[in-house]
Amino acid sequence: MAVAPDTLRSSRSRLRTWFGEQPIGYLFVAPFVLFLVGIYAYPFFFAIFISFYKYIFTAPGAQINQPFAGLSNYTAVLSDPLFHIALRNVLIFLVINVPLTVAVSMILATALNGRIPLRGFFRAAYYIPYITASVAAVGIWLWMFSGSGLVNKILGPLAPNPSWLVNGFWAMPIIAIYVTWKGLGFYILLYLAALQAIPKELYEAAKVDGARRIGAFFAVTVPGLRPATVLVVVVSIITGANFFTEPYLLTGGGGPDNQSVSPVFLIYREGIEQNHPGYAAAIGILLAIGVLVVSGVSRFFLERD
């Protein structure tokens, strides 16, 4: 049976209306779109959905009542003292981790960009912690900061009591410093790339104007790295606010006495261990909003002239 040319034209026209002039382009992007939707978008929207339900994970096909809960998960989270401690801990973490990450990685990147002996070795050395498995890195820090560990042996009577990782005051700063140390390699790499984009002429001009090395660093390098700094700050806020491995492994489950719990650790405990995914999802959504606000504010201040 022959198809009328008008019908063919009409269906092509409809296809173009929906998919544009080059529909095959969709075929090329489809795998990544599916990945993005399946791995990120679907769980994200599903998390929003279950945060409004008394939801539990069930066996496939199991008929379990999952009633609508309105905002009750959110009100329960916001009135949970443990969530308040977790938020306080994120704040402590960010206050230590973000400035330290920016300052140390910028200084080290500048040094590693110069002509120093064993430059290749140092570049690799700073990157190694970043690619080392967290469990192995945590093992080293446990050995260093335990009561009978290396740090306390060096400090002798000056060592804190209780020791670092079971000390309510020191547990969070140690976690923040550990994460800074572990992530440095990545941020140094970002700054090293950004340093290549600063024109040499600016340094020469600064030298002509009488600036020494430190003067040139503050007058040329720091402003020249501003776009990279915005990226470093935003990325370190996002990854930092999601810290989990450290309270999970380094301080034995958010210890001492829950003084190093983080929101993501609570998500794990509530969602996975206690099967309250609705409650856990509410924590996740509140955390995502908080991180968006903090990184947005940071960007605003860092990007304005």
Binding site: T17, W18, F19, G20, Y26, V33, L34, V37, G38, A41, Y42, I56, F57, T58, A59, P60, G61, A62, Q63, I64, L142, W143, S146, G147, S148, P162, S163, L165, V166, G168, G252, G253, G254, G255, P256, D257, N258, R269, I272, E273, Q274, N275
Partner: protein, 428 residues
């Protein structure tokens, strides 16, 4: 233009969401409860249990060519409970898991992940005949069994005889009966025994850690009571306070560290004692010259009267199982008198059977060190089978950590606070 863009986005999203939302389904119970055919099982990754599991599977497969069993170690994870919980949600559990923690059973039952063993015509009678009156503790609030009580590891005090001798303490009948004796002995051990700690229970905050410090002593002190009795917390009492204060003294005197040990503190000689069950014998043999005594009580009860925590592991049948008829038959086969004897022989763990000592008398005569565990296995208590079990234990652990381990609150306030929180949980 904007309208076309929105349509395109919708098309892509709908296709992707439908694809992502596709999932499996489980067969109905009527189809599966009598069905026979191949099944899969998981067992613990403990080397001795793997040996036992492989042998039992091989013995079954020899005689059941059309109902072959595939055994494998439980997949790696921080805890078996996390792995099983995730597998239930994904519908990837095997038919039977020989490492089912009773504390997690209420939650998995709520998830629809477990098959009621009482639904089998001989389910209740088989369990009751094998385990006796002790089986009652494993019933769920609806009166049914969702787990088969399998083996216990009665928690006792292991001690390092060499360290005791070095500290000048009697290593044959160590003074560890009363709280006062235990504390004095602990002080001597740390002062003269060359160890960092007298005893080193995990001071971390996982919900299950209280099963290996507070709970065995609480059970001993109360003559076998559970943390919750008649749906009411039982620990906010003078007995609960006595037990918690005993541990508080150990922590505050630095006889028990507040930091987690690097490795097994007892096996590596960092601690003189450990509070654990007989599963650990295989870990200690050849490393530590060990002895074992019951957990202490305030007044030093006669050892033959002391109860303790069972650290029991059950066998669960999971709802994703298609051939439940075979699974039930294999479950009975693997818990037969002969296979329980093999379990005892290979792992040193105590099958949940009545008359354990007389049934396997020849084993105990050739392994006298295990007689004490068999005796203790007759007086064990489980975790309460109540909904929200994990939350309840987490609430308790948080309060215990605060007051007992870190001393940031009075013991009585912490226990009262935990009891109030648990009461609220139980009333939901």
């Amino acid at each position: 233009m904007r309208r076309i863009g929105w349509r395109r986005t919708c098309t892509v999203l709908v296709v992707a969401l439908v694809t992502a939302a596709c999932g499996g389904s489980v067969p109905s119970s009527s189809q599966t409860s009598a069905a026979k055919g191949p099944i899969a099982i998981w067992y613990s990754n403990n080397a001795e249990e793997v040996t036992w599991g492989e042998a039992v599977v091989a013995a079954w497969n020899k005689d059941h060519p059309s109902e072959q069993v595939t055994g494998q170690q439980i997949p790696a994870g921080k805890t078996s409970e996390e792995v099983i919980g995730a597998a239930i949600t994904a519908g990837t559990t095997p038919c039977l898991i020989y490492n089912t923690a009773p504390g997690s059973v209420p939650g998995w039952q709520q998830q629809g992940g477990l098959v009621g063993l009482s639904n089998f015509s001989d389910g209740d009678s088989y369990i009751n005949a094998r385990t006796g009156s002790g089986a009652a503790q494993f019933k769920s609030p609806d009166g049914k069994f969702y787990q088969m009580p399998w083996k216990s590891n009665p928690v006792m005090i292991f001690y390092n005889k060499d360290v005791f001798q070095k500290a000048g303490i009697d290593s044959t009948n160590p003074p560890l009966k009363t709280y006062a004796e235990f504390l004095t002995t602990a002080q001597t051990l740390v002062a003269k025994g060359g160890v960092q700690a007298a005893i080193w229970p995990a001071p971390t905050s996982e919900y299950f850690q209280s099963w290996f410090d507070f709970y065995p002593l609480f059970i001993a002190q109360t003559g076998g009571k559970q943390l919750v009795e008649n749906n009411q917390p039982a620990f906010d009492s003078s007995v609960g306070q006595a037990v918690a204060n005993f541990w508080r003294q150990l922590y505050s005197s630095k006889l028990a560290p507040t930091e987690a040990a690097q490795g097994d503190a007892f096996a590596t000689g960092q601690a003189a004692m450990a509070i654990v069950g007989p599963w650990a014998v295989a870990q200690y043999t050849g490393k530590v010259n060990w002895g074992v005594v019951p957990v202490p009580t305030e007044a030093g009860q006669d050892p033959s009267q002391i109860h303790t925590y069972s650290d029991e592991k059950s066998i669960g049948m999971y709802s994703s199982c298609k051939n439940q008829g075979t699974a039930w038959d294999f479950l009975k086969f693997s818990t037969s008198q002969a296979n329980d004897g093999q379990l005892l022989q290979v792992t040193g763990q105590m099958p949940m059977r009545t008359d354990l000592a007389s049934m396997y008398a020849s084993y105990f005569s050739t392994h006298p060190a295990y007689t004490v565990f068999a005796d203790q296995a007759a007086r064990v208590t489980q975790v309460p089978n109540v909904p929200s079990s994990v939350e309840m234990w987490q609430d308790f652990r948080d309060a215990y950590s605060k007051a007992v381990i870190f001393g940031n609150q009075s013991v009585s306030q912490a226990l009262t606070g935990a009891a109030a929180a648990i009461k609220t949980l139980l009333s939901k």
